[in-house]
């Protein structure tokens, strides 16, 4: 049985970790890019961002002030038991989002869609958002993603339906053209992690793109060899564009391209992209009985 106290402490630590500490794969991507970047201004851009991330951790600051949408991705062990029942999970998570917002770990960014006013606690209809998966075992694995507004709102999210005759060139053109528009002048804070969803219905497709962008570590590849090849091909091509970090020009335009697919109606093909910021924030915790530990990989598609 997982007690409410342990659950609360695990969620609170995970929110703070996500907002203030770069995932190891993202830190590694920065280091590698700094080493390989050809433009001096672009190298300075990457260095100044990476340095700020390291200092934020030391000084108790944040990686980025825009902590965006509070999103929870939760894997529930089929034998996991929570004190008071499963629904307590959402109640405790909301309580911790509120607490972390009031303490300055999250910015009170969530507002009513029309009045544009929020309660200052990042809580409202459908927010925070919860996505669930089941897996064998007794533990809970919770990933918290503070999803930035830049990468979500300014062109980093797109959807289109292709005809079967447009495959595969149309998929590639869609990704390249959308990325150029979105990354221009640094709107989505490149070098991004680009998640691409292929197939399914519109919502399945968009969800796959989002989950590929925010839950797969940089350097991971799709299990399907052909799709993995396409990921590498797209990453290489985008890095030829010269967009650079924050759109200022340079050889580092994208950190990674992650593709996930679903089976689809024979009549057409939905495609979607969702970008994650260069400062790609997430933290994952595994809770089992009265203990919890952090994981580097959310292992969402595993």
């Amino acid at each position: 049985m997982i007690s409410l106290e342990i659950l609360g402490e695990a969620i609170r630590s995970t929110i703070i970790k996500a907002a203030s500490e770069l995932p190891s794969d993202v830190a590694h991507a920065f280091e590698k890019a700094i080493e390989n970047e050809k433009s001096q201004l672009a190298a300075e851009s990457l260095i100044s961002t990476f340095e700020s991330c390291k200092q934020a951790r030391e000084k108790g600051g944040l990686l980025c002030p825009d902590t965006g949408w509070p999103l929870f991705f939760i894997k529930i062990g089929t034998n996991a038991k929570i004190e008071g029942g499963l629904l307590e999970l959402e109640r405790v998570a909301k309580e911790k989002v509120k607490e972390c917002t009031q303490k300055g770990y999250l910015r009170p960014t969530m507002v009513h869609p029309i009045t544009r006013i929020g309660k200052g606690d990042n809580i409202g209809d459908h927010i925070p958002h919860f996505t669930y998966k089941f897996f064998p075992g007794e533990s809970l694995e919770i990933t918290f993603v503070p999803k930035g507004g830049g990468s979500e709102l300014f062109g980093g999210t797109r959807y289109r339906v292709l005809a079967p005759s447009d495959i595969p060139a149309g998929i590639k053109k869609f990704v390249i053209d959308a990325y150029i528009q979105a990354a221009s002048a640094g709107k989505i804070c490149p070098p991004s992690i680009v998640g691409v969803g292929i197939g399914g219905t519109s919502d399945i497709c968009m969800n796959l793109a989002k989950e590929a962008a925010v839950l797969r570590p940089i350097g991971s590849h799709n299990r399907d060899e052909e799709i993995a090849k396409l990921e590498i091909e797209l990453k290489r091509a985008i890095n030829e564009l010269g967009i650079g970090p924050m759109g200022i020009g340079g050889s580092t335009s994208v950190f990674s391209v992650h593709i996930e697919y679903a089976y689809v109606h024979t009549a057409g093909l939905p495609v979607a992209i969702n970008a994650n910021c260069a400062i790609a924030r997430r933290a994952t915790v595994r809770i089992r009985e009265s203990e919890f530990e952090f994981l580097d990989d959310p292992n969402w598609f595993g």
């Binding site: 201004l41 851009s45 100044s48 200092q55 009170p108 020009g249």
Partner: protein, 208 residues
């Protein structure tokens, strides 16, 4: 690329000497603004809750602030995307006498024209370095309308030292740094298409 230290308030001469591609740092007072302030003042006709005289450097930004020992203290801050304020930027330059606006990315055509006419520039962060910006704040001078529009939309007047680096992307002569990058990207796109085997004459089938 030149590194330029600027003291606020800026003079017209300060503005004229910076060119697109230069990197600037600010010293003195700057203040923050987001859409709820612009909407209240410009669309709804409210009076500005404070004087913008001698405060001609505006940062599009919503800092995270907490009260420590009764004093507002910044936790994190980084400029936010300017393009979404495009409807209001020309009027803010005229009405508030702005000489520089800092925001992520760039501004649109209308703002660019008004910047040229009123001798003003736009600058953007070259990376995301909230900790460096927080460390450059000497003092939170004033804040207004927290009750009315909330903590992040409220205008914060900050006294800063070596506040930057920010790259001038649109200068007072109408030149745009990002336009040049975009022209280069447009040319590189042909090579990217070739690498991916996208035919030159490819057109999407029209489905809707």
């Amino acid at each position: 690329m030149d590194l330029i230290n600027l003291n606020t308030p800026l003079t017209d001469e300060d503005v004229r000497k910076v060119k697109a591609g230069d990197v600037v740092y600010f010293n003195g007072e700057v203040w923050t603004c987001r859409s709820l302030l612009q909407k209240k003042i410009i669309d709804e006709g409210f009076e500005m809750p404070f004087s913008t005289e001698k405060r001609n450097v505006l940062i599009h930004m919503g800092p995270i602030m907490v009260k420590k020992n009764e004093k507002w203290t910044p936790v994190s801050m980084s400029p936010t995307t300017s393009i979404r304020f495009e409807k209001w930027i020309p009027e803010t330059i005229k009405r508030w006498g702005l000489k520089a606006i800092v925001g992520k990315g760039t501004v649109g055509e209308k703002s660019r024209a008004v910047m040229k006419e009123y001798n003003c520039f736009h600058a953007c962060p070259i990376g995301v370095y909230p900790q460096k910006l927080v460390d450059s704040v000497i003092e939170v001078v004033e804040v207004h309308w927290i009750e009315k529009i909330g903590l992040i939309e409220a205008p914060w007047v900050l006294r800063v030292r070596d506040f930057g680096p920010f790259m001038v992307d649109v200068d007072s002569y109408g030149d745009s740094y990002f336009e040049k990058v975009e022209d280069a990207v447009e040319k590189n796109k042909i090579k990217a298409y070739e690498m991916l085997g996208i035919p030159r004459n490819f057109e999407y089938s029209s489905l809707y």
